[in-house]
């Protein structure tokens, strides 16, 4: 069974550009989470989908970040326009509806904004 897949693994963009990160959760997992770790800081929660609905987006830093999960399968996280402080590793994680504690993480997308 495939794990959580994230694409791209690395992205280097210039300030002001747009970047879209993609996450494919484990098949059948209704819960999908985005987390982020910026340099020297702890991993922080961004938002949580249950199927296609945003359950909690309290961790989204500002309106330059837009997450979608159309159809309740894969999710995208778009940053537009990107700023220097957006650099970091963006992790996606998924879990089944009744097994919220068993979280599976992807390998992350390393985003560098220059």
């Amino acid at each position: 069974e495939a794990g959580v897949t994230q694409f791209p693994s690395h992205s280097v963009i210039e300030k002001g550009q747009t970047v879209t990160l993609r996450c494919d959760p484990i098949s059948g997992h209704d819960n999908l989470y985005w987390y982020r770790r910026v340099m020297g800081k702890e991993i922080k929660f961004l938002l949580h989908f249950v199927k296609e609905s945003k359950q909690d987006e309290s961790g989204m830093p500002n309106n330059r970040f837009l997450a979608e999960r159309t159809g309740g399968t894969y999710s995208t996280l778009k940053v537009q326009p990107a700023e220097l402080e957006d650099s970091g590793v963006y992790f996606c994680a998924s879990s089944g509806l009744g097994t919220v504690e068993k979280l599976f993480f992807g390998s992350g997308t390393q985003l560098s904004v220059l």
């Binding site: 959580v4 819960n31 989470y33 987390y35 800081k41 702890e42 991993i43 922080k44 929660f45 949580h48 359950q55 909690d56 309290s58 961790g59 992790f91 994680a93 919220v100 504690e101 068993k102 979280l103 599976f104 993480f105 992807g106 390998s107 992350g108």
Partner: protein, 111 residues
């Protein structure tokens, strides 16, 4: 403000030694998890503890949840080079689905 403080931040020990990593908070958590992360990979869940005072063992790893559910510890017996990695604690508050992560403890076990 860091919700979950881990100590030590870095730990380098010889193979065969024992070690303990601590995860402390002033907040109460409904559950606490420990993850291990390798370079270039995402965190991998090791254990979940949910009851105050709970102790769980995973081979040479022993995890304990504090009685008040504010802290946890990870003890490794007879560390092996394969134990090298970043250890993260993460807590979940009552009624919430998101995790609060500690800053991590980077463990190096020298052969």
């Amino acid at each position: 403000t860091q919700l979950l403080e881990q100590s030590p931040q870095f730990l380098s020990i010889q193979e065969g030694e024992n070690l303990t990593v601590y995860c402390n908070s002033s907040s109460v958590f409904s559950s606490l998890q420990w993850y291990r992360q390798e370079p270039g990979e995402g965190p991998v869940l090791l254990v979940t503890v949910v009851t105050g005072g709970e102790v769980k063992k995973l081979k040479r790893l022993t995890f304990q949840f504090g009685d008040a559910r504010k802290d946890s510890s990870l003890h490794i017996t007879a560390a092996q080079p394969g134990d090298t990695g970043l250890y993260l604690c993460a807590g979940r508050r009552t009624g919430a689905n998101n995790l609060f992560f500690g800053t991590g403890t980077r463990l190096t076990v020298i052969p």
